[in-house]
């Protein structure tokens, strides 16, 4: 999904502006959102809610740019809890459980859930070796992918094979159709391949890419 989240290489998105002695959380609610996200994940599991990242990317650009990091997390969390019928609008407004509604139950994982980020030990041979020249595919699907726009269609060199990982891509509804384990490679792109003469001659950008994003040169 070519949303504003895929912002590598853009201009006009504001200053970097580091804050001296920045606290971990600027306001108490930010920490609570972090904790609530962690502690509710077992409940959202098994309810076919798809990918959290996908939902973040669906936030329209003006909202995405206005909202803080934890605000985005909170809005997506509320949305997922509501769509999975774990909470209702009325309950959210009142902050208390509706006694008429049954207590939610934990469920086993479903195929539409967010996938684990664990390395998989499946013995699938890699298609590429370190040193291979590859080209990132030019793909613009409507779902979540992890191939940034700025690298699409560009050639680079495989520098490392990290082993097998489940593909995090989703369809246009945020769901995954399976694990699709693929090797993940670090691919080195010369900065001038990516940015023309605007890039530094000796500079590089290293991007971690699933095998299916790559084709041999």
């Amino acid at each position: 999904m070519n949303s504003i989240h895929d912002m590598g290489g853009m201009a006009g998105l504001g200053a970097v502006d580091p804050e001296p002695d920045e606290p971990v959380f600027h306001e108490k609610w930010e920490g609570r959102v972090l904790g609530l996200r962690f502690l509710t994940s077992q409940w959202i599991r098994g309810r076919n809610m798809g990918s959290h990242r996908y939902e973040l990317e669906r936030i329209p650009a003006p909202e995405y740019l206005r909202m803080s990091y934890y605000e985005r997390w909170f809005e997506v969390l509320v949305d997922r809890l509501r769509r999975s019928d774990l909470v209702t609008e009325t309950e959210l407004a009142q902050g208390v459980a509706d006694p008429q509604r049954p207590t939610p139950e934990l469920r086993p994982p479903s195929s539409g859930d967010q996938v684990s980020a664990a390395r998989l030990d499946l013995g699938i041979a890699p298609r590429f070796q370190p040193g291979d020249e590859v080209r990132a595919r030019n793909m613009h699907p409507a779902g979540h992918i992890r191939l940034p726009r700025y690298a699409r269609g560009k050639w680079g060199q495989v520098v490392r094979d990290h082993g097998l990982f489940a593909l995090q891509d989703t369809d246009e509804t945020g769901r995954r159709g399976g694990d699709f384990p693929q090797h993940v490679y670090t691919v080195r792109f010369n900065a001038q391949v990516l940015w023309g003469s605007q890039g530094g001659e000796c500079d590089s950008v290293f991007v971690d890419l699933w095998e299916g994003y790559l084709e041999p040169v």
Binding site: G8, G35, L36, L39, S68, L92, Q94, G95, F165, G200
Partner: protein, 232 residues
């Protein structure tokens, strides 16, 4: 409405902040300040609701917040860096298998399952970003600062790293190659900064004290704080 378009003089404040290489702040730099004031209430209501439904245990929630607020942070990563500076064998293990070497010091877990450590050298400078999101090595660096999550950093670090580093006061010679690591998959990156000259007499604990978070993201180098005296 319209506050964003006029500065105190009634002019267009945003034209000033629109320069391609902003060097100063505009006084409203931390995006949490623009959060609607009712969000604290909405989060509180959600927490109460989930506790009431017995989906969330408040003590467990407190523990998560406390962990990230007080136990996990860049002091962890600083210990890793200091150890690598004083122990060449550890440094080799760290660069060969970051996750395992970091686990030797007791650090690991969420967002640190697949660690790669990249070492700065006199002619190589590494910097880490996550353009698509804000991925970050939590067990060694804690939660990311606001600037790391900002659209300004995420958008510019890959295309104009030299300019971004300059805004952090980091001037690199033209012949230093910059390596930007975009954390697009499950691997998380930690920069091993160069040990500054003049620290030969420092202990590992003293060294850990001078290693900053920003140097492990790669936007600064490690230097000896002027307040630390000149005894070294």
């Amino acid at each position: 409405m319209g506050n964003g378009t006029k500065d105190a003089a009634g002019g267009r404040g945003f034209m000033n902040s629109a320069a391609s290489e902003p060097t100063g702040g505009d006084g409203d730099h931390h995006d949490h300040q623009t959060v609607p004031s009712d969000i604290a209430l909405r989060v509180k209501a959600l927490e109460s609701l989930l506790v009431d439904k017995k989906m969330v245990d408040r003590a467990a929630l407190d523990a998560v917040v406390d962990t990230y607020e007080t136990k996990i942070g860049p002091r962890n990563g600083a210990q890793v860096v200091a150890r690598a500076w004083v122990d060449p064998a550890y440094r080799m293990r760290l660069l060969a298998n970051g996750t395992e070497a970091i686990a030797e010091l007791g650090f690991g877990g969420e967002q640190g399952e697949h660690m790669v450590v990249v070492a700065n050298e006199p002619k190589i400078h590494n910097v880490v970003v996550c353009t698509l999101c804000s991925c970050y090595p939590w067990p060694t660096l804690g939660l990311p600062p606001v600037w790391y999550k900002s659209a300004g950093y995420r958008s510019r670090a890959v295309v104009a790293p030299r300019g971004v580093l300059r805004e952090f006061g980091t001037e690199l010679d033209d012949d230093v190659a910059i390596r930007v690591w975009d954390s697009t998959a499950e691997i998380r990156y930690l920069v091993l900064p160069e040990r500054p000259a003049g620290t030969e007499q420092m202990t590992e604990a003293e060294l850990a004290n001078i290693v900053t978070r920003d140097s492990m993201i790669g936007v600064t180098k490690v230097s000896i704080p002027t307040t630390a005296g000149d005894e070294a």
